[in-house]
Each structure stands twice: as C-alpha cells, then as structure tokens.
C-alpha cells in the first residue's frame, strides 16, 4: 500500500513515497527518512506527488523527521503534495513549517 524509494542527487537525498500513509505504516516512512539522515543525507526532498492519503500519524513522522534533520543542520523540503495531503498540512499549520515546492526538480534545486 505504501512504497518508498530513496535516491541521491549529488548532496540532496530524494525520498519518493507512493500510496497511503497512515497509522499502520507511518513508522516505516519515519524509519526510512531517519536512516537517510543517519547516513549523512541531511538535505532531503520528500516527493509526495504519489501519496493520495495521509493521516495525522503520517504528519507526526514528518515532524519528527524534520526535527531530526534540523538537529543535524539539514532540512526536509516537500515536493508536490496532492490536494488531500496539502489539506492536512494546512489544517495542522505545517504548510508554514515546511518549504513546499511544485515539483521535485524545484525542491532539489532549492538546496
């Protein structure tokens, strides 16, 4: 139901997620991002274009991952959240916390 693909684009780590992110698998997403940060990939782009559903459990992992990246002097920037994901980001005020870009390429280029 959820797939995660992590790739390196020079100094930027791109995490592409697809499917549904909820209480059942949000920890898996947090773990994947956390591993990338532990391995030195502190400049991250999270491509959410293929995520059609995210509950508060998913947002919690995004926030924890964001804090972890910031502690390592890095950042997590979001690319192309779907309408539904953008809606939950806005409801929780996280649209003003994360830098959000229209495309993955723009998010990568922002570093």
């Amino acid at each position: 139901m959820m797939a995660i693909n992590v790739t390196a684009h020079q100094q930027v780590t791109v995490v592409e997620v697809s499917g549904r992110v909820d209480g059942m698998n949000a920890g898996e997403l947090g773990g994947a991002i956390g591993s990338a940060i532990d391995n030195g990939g502190i400049y991250l782009v999270l491509d959410l274009s293929q995520v059609d559903y995210m509950s508060s459990a998913g947002l919690r992992e995004l926030v924890n991952s964001f804090k972890k990246a910031k502690r390592a002097a890095g950042d997590i920037r979001l690319a192309q959240p779907s309408e539904r994901v953008r809606e939950v980001l806005e409801m929780s005020g996280l649209d003003t916390v994360f830098r959000i870009f229209n495309t993955q390429a723009e998010a990568v280029a922002s570093y």
């Binding site: 139901m1 909820d22 209480g23 059942m24 559903y53 509950s55 508060s56 459990a57 947002l59 919690r60 926030v63 964001f66 804090k67 539904r84 939950v88 409801m91 929780s92 005020g93 916390v97």
Partner: protein, 137 residues
C-alpha cells in the same frame, strides 16, 4: 443501521475505513464526503488502538455503527478501553511554532474540522463516541 466489529489492532483500521468508504460509495456520495468520513474514522480508531488499548487490543474490539439519516450520517464508535473522553483535551494550535507544540491531539482536531457534531458518553462499560456528518447540499 450498518455495523462492523473489528479487533483493536492497527491493521484493522483500514478495514474500518473501507467499510465506511464502501457505504458512502454505494450511496453515491462524492469523493470529499468519503475522504472526510474516512479520515475521521481512521483518526478515532487509531487513537483507540494507540492510546486506549496501548497497542494491546487484539482480544478487544472496536465497533462502528453507521446510521444514514435524511440530513446526516451518524457514526457511533464503541471501544472497551478505560473510560476516556477525547473531547476534554485542549485543541492543538496550528499557528504555534513547532518547538512549542505538544505532540498529539491532531487526530481528534481533524475530526472536529470535518464533523458537524461530536459527543461522548460512557455506557455499559464502553466508550461511545458519536460523530455526525451533514450530507452535501
């Protein structure tokens, strides 16, 4: 009235979501109505499993009842966790800086944004949360 009873474990949340989505789909509801109902059921059930049952609810249940009334759909969610009214906690503040935020509370906050009425009662040894969602006009 439609009714579903599932064990209180995390992988059953999707079963509960599919139950509600299928009812909405069969009734011809639009995507927005389905999404708002699905997210609400997801958040309530996940809270019960994580906090009420402390991830130890395999021998306990969550029961979901759906009443399709002329003006609203009424969802009644019952669980056997210790008595707890989720409506007594303060709402989180979306404008608060991240460092000052308490973790948690967002699930029920989302439900409050999407439902027109929420009520809690404790009856026959079960927590009982009633949500009402107005039908699209």
């Amino acid at each position: 009235m439609h009714k579903l009873r599932v064990p209180g474990v995390i992988d059953q949340v999707r079963v509960a979501c599919d139950f509600v989505k299928n009812l909405a789909h069969q009734a011809g509801m639009d995507d927005r109505f389905m999404f708002e109902c699905e997210l609400s059921i997801d958040e309530i059930c996940t809270n019960i499993i994580e906090h009420g049952y402390q991830h130890n609810g395999a021998d306990k249940s969550i029961e979901i009842r759906v009443e399709m009334l002329p003006q609203v759909w009424r969802f009644t969610i019952l669980d056997e966790a210790p008595r707890f009214n989720p409506l007594i906690t303060d709402d989180p503040d979306p404008s608060q800086p991240l460092d000052e935020r308490e973790q948690g509370g967002w699930g029920i906050y989302f439900v409050k944004q999407y439902m027109q009425r929420i009520a809690y009662r404790y009856e026959n040894g079960r927590n009982c949360l009633v949500l009402e969602k107005a039908l699209p006009t």
